[in-house]
């Protein structure tokens, strides 16, 4: 029966490939949506990953950078610097804003850096200065490319006109582009005098960031201190959670489509082989074995579809990113594995209708003319 199953399946390889491609594209929809959220979540934490730092200090009750508002009195920076195990404490001002760049509004997170302070600034500048002075700004190079701006152009943050003096790499994201400005300009815009938003803490060599974070929380009143690893995980998790329902719904839609396509293919195959099935049944092959054959066909189509979807997704992601730089795609390794389980469910459900057809095949039809 196994031989018959495989022979039937591979009798028309073009048709099998087309069916697998249909399933593949339905599954690609799921991979793609997940990749968009994972890609954007990755970009969201890029600033934290690249600026590194061992511990981040913020307002008590806050534990995120993305979508959060934090205020800490600026005199606390010196207190934090005095805590045992702290090598350097770098304050930043931080706000989310809609910035006018190239005549369009763009959502961006603006980091205000102190005079001459580059620690929390852009980690790679492709053109121009790395540290913005007063009235100056460093914007993502991708954004400059999209809007056709270059060094010397002017952008508007609220009413403040700022001159572009640098273009940074790796700082663009649809939801979280990072713009670097001088802290004085930002405190003007935010009307936040005597305040900073976050403190980036570098620990002395050999100091455990977790212990240091606990020590800062203990010694400094009304602040939260989080080790970098936890801070990144917290932001990434929140970003992914914002899209978790949409991912689940798209997974269900993709699964539904894949079930219909697989079911249709297996049904078509089974329909064409009714006479052969009748002969097999007349020769004593049991319904269970025939159903197993149908299920195996469905599994082969679904798994082949998954393999094609995975290959296409990995091959296509860099191409899409090159064509549409606003979109970041990251395919998490566990996604194809999870979809593998989904493919098996798809196969099981998709084989139900053809199975009914198999059970109805009358062995006597094998002897009809």
């Amino acid at each position: 029966m196994l031989h018959w199953t495989l022979r039937t399946l591979f009798a028309r390889p073009a048709y099998l490939l087309a069916s697998a491609c249909g399933v593949a594209f339905a599954l690609m929809l799921v991979i793609f949506i997940e990749a968009v959220f994972a890609g954007e979540s990755g970009r969201i934490v890029n600033y934290l990953q690249k600026t590194k730092g061992d511990v981040w200090v913020m307002q008590r009750g806050v534990s995120n950078l993305h979508m959060a508002t934090s205020f800490v009195s600026d005199w606390k920076v010196a207190r934090i610097a005095e805590v045992e195990g702290v090598r350097k404490a770098t304050p930043i001002l931080y706000m989310n804003a809609s910035i006018e760049i190239g005549g369009r509004q763009w959502f961006s997170f603006v980091v205000g850096m102190g005079e001459g302070e580059g620690r929390a600034g852009p980690w790679r500048v492709v053109k121009g200065k790395r540290r913005p002075g007063k009235g100056e700004v460093v914007i993502p190079a991708t954004l400059a490319r999209i809007t056709g701006l270059d060094i010397g152009a002017t952008i508007t943050l609220n009413t403040k006109k700022l001159k572009v003096v640098g273009l940074s790499a790796g700082t663009f994201s649809m939801a979280n582009s990072v713009t670097f400005a001088h802290a004085d300009d930002l405190s003007d815009v935010m009307s936040a005098f005597g305040m900073i938003s976050y403190v980036l803490v570098d620990a002395e060599t050999g100091v455990d960031p977790r212990i240091l974070a606990a020590r800062i929380r203990d010694r400094i009143d009304k602040v939260n201190a989080v080790p970098l690893e936890d801070f990144i995980a917290s932001d990434r998790e929140m970003a992914m959670q914002m899209g978790v329902e949409i991912i689940n719904i798209m997974s269900l839609i993709g699964m539904g489509l894949a079930i219909v396509i697989t079911g249709f293919t297996v049904y078509s195959q089974t329909s064409r082989r009714r006479r052969e099935l009748a002969v097999a049944k007349a020769l004593g092959v049991r319904n269970r074995a025939v159903y197993g054959s149908v299920l195996l066909q469905a599994m082969c189509i679904a798994l082949l579809g998954l393999a094609i979807a995975t290959a296409l997704a990995y091959a296509g992601a860099p191409l899409i990113e090159a064509l549409v730089p606003l979109v970041a795609l990251t395919i998490e390794p566990e996604v194809p594995l999870r979809l593998g389980v989904l493919a098996l469910v798809i196969a099981a459900v998709a084989s139900l209708i053809p199975a009914r057809q198999v059970l109805r095949v009358d062995p006597a039809t094998a002897f009809h003319g």
Partner: protein, 376 residues
């Protein structure tokens, strides 16, 4: 030709049902994706338009209500109310916060209001009455399993849920509403910073005009009297929010839509190929009887068109079903495809992918030999 196509479709009802289901599922998927996009864009203006007022005052240079930090001087309200034609200026403050519970974090947008701009579409409970009262959207309630009357903590300050609204969401962010009494207590009691003035105290002013007042003249007078402010008609500010949303999310949704259309072409191509392959013998008979490849190809195109037209309402019904499930299970999102533009775009898209998809089997027919009919 119609007769031929209809007979072929009715000859194998189960296969036809399968074909219709597959095409309807594809159309449904395309509609849902478009509906997500439309839903997100449709949610965006709600933040402004549901606040009421004839004019909205923002900090100078701020052209959005969503994703913007607007701070107005405390005295702006009094100065604006002194302008002729202004009946009243209602204060409104917007605070971004993150609500965390049971390991899940959701960004929320807290709107602090006084005499206007408060919660609309309350489906349970009442608007905030006391300083600890908060109204949350049902999307937040659904995500975190919150109930009316329950105590929740935001930045270590305990609120009581006095009401639950629906449809107060934008940019995947639910809104919550508190009164100014609540905000002051929140700032004071949560004791997170020493200086209360650090927090935004006044973000926007919602201006009601006196009957008969000239809106444009009053707007100009406000901008002249309060140079730190910009004045917008609510519709304009709402349009700006929508534009910002399109700029941020447009590229990704356009890409997803393009992918879904490619899937549509492939699925219809696959289905029509399977349909033609299954009928190779009967098509061979027709060729032997003198039907040209062109005519048979035309029949396949016609069949694809009929299948797509018949499947479209089923696809819509499927998409409505998904929209209802999304509304019940994940009210943070809205699936909306009731606007004619979305439906027309999808219908045109389906027509294109039905035609493109049926070109694959047309090639099979062109290569089909009439002699096939004499083979066993």
């Amino acid at each position: 030709m119609l007769h031929l196509v209809c007979r072929q479709l009715l000859h194998r009802p189960l296969r036809t049902a399968f074909t219709l289901t597959a095409v309807a599922a594809t159309i449904g998927a395309v509609l849902v994706i478009q509906g997500f996009q439309s839903g997100i864009y449709r949610q965006l203006p709600g933040l402004v338009l549901n606040r009421g007022g004839d004019l909205i005052v923002t900090q100078a240079g701020i052209t959005n209500m969503i994703a913007a930090r607007s701070t107005l001087p405390q005295l702006a309200r009094r100065r604006i109310e002194a302008i002729g034609g202004v009946e009243i200026a209602h204060p409104l403050t917007a605070i971004s916060a993150i609500f965390a519970r049971h390991g899940r974090k959701t960004p929320i947008f807290i709107l602090v209001y006084d005499s206007a701009g408060g919660p609309r579409n309350i489906i349970a409970g009442t608007a905030p009455k006391g300083p600890r009262d908060i109204v949350v959207d049902r999307s937040l309630a659904r995500i975190h399993g919150l109930r009316l009357g329950e105590r929740i903590e935001i930045s270590e300050y305990a609120f009581r849920i006095s009401g639950i609204t629906t449809g107060n969401v934008a940019f995947f962010t639910p809104f919550a509403f508190v009164t100014y009494d609540g905000m002051i207590d929140f700032y004071m009691e949560s004791k997170v910073v020493g200086d209360i003035t650090t927090f935004p105290l006044l973000s926007f002013l919602i201006v009601d005009l006196e009957p008969g007042a000239d809106r444009d003249r009053v707007a100009a007078a406000i901008e002249a009297r309060v140079p730190e402010a910009d004045v917008f008609v609510p519709r304009t500010l709402a349009a700006n929010d929508r534009k910002l949303g399109r700029a941020m999310l447009g590229p990704v949704f356009n890409l997803i839509t393009a992918v879904s259309f490619v899937i549509g072409v492939l699925v219809i191509g696959l289905i029509m190929s399977a349909s033609v392959n299954a009928r190779r013998r009967s098509l061979g008979v027709l060729k032997a009887l003198g039907f040209s490849s062109r005519r048979l190809g035309g029949a396949v195109l016609f069949e694809a068109a009929i299948v797509t037209v018949v499947a479209f309402p089923f696809g819509m019904a499927l998409a409505w079903g998904v929209a209802a499930v999304v509304d019940a299970a994940a009210p943070l999102y809205v699936v909306m495809f009731d606007d004619p533009a979305t439906l027309l775009r999808t219908a045109l898209g389906c027509a294109v992918f039905a035609l493109a998809g049926s070109l694959i089997p047309v090639r099979v027919i062109a290569r089909l030999e009439p002699a096939i009919v004499f083979r066993r």
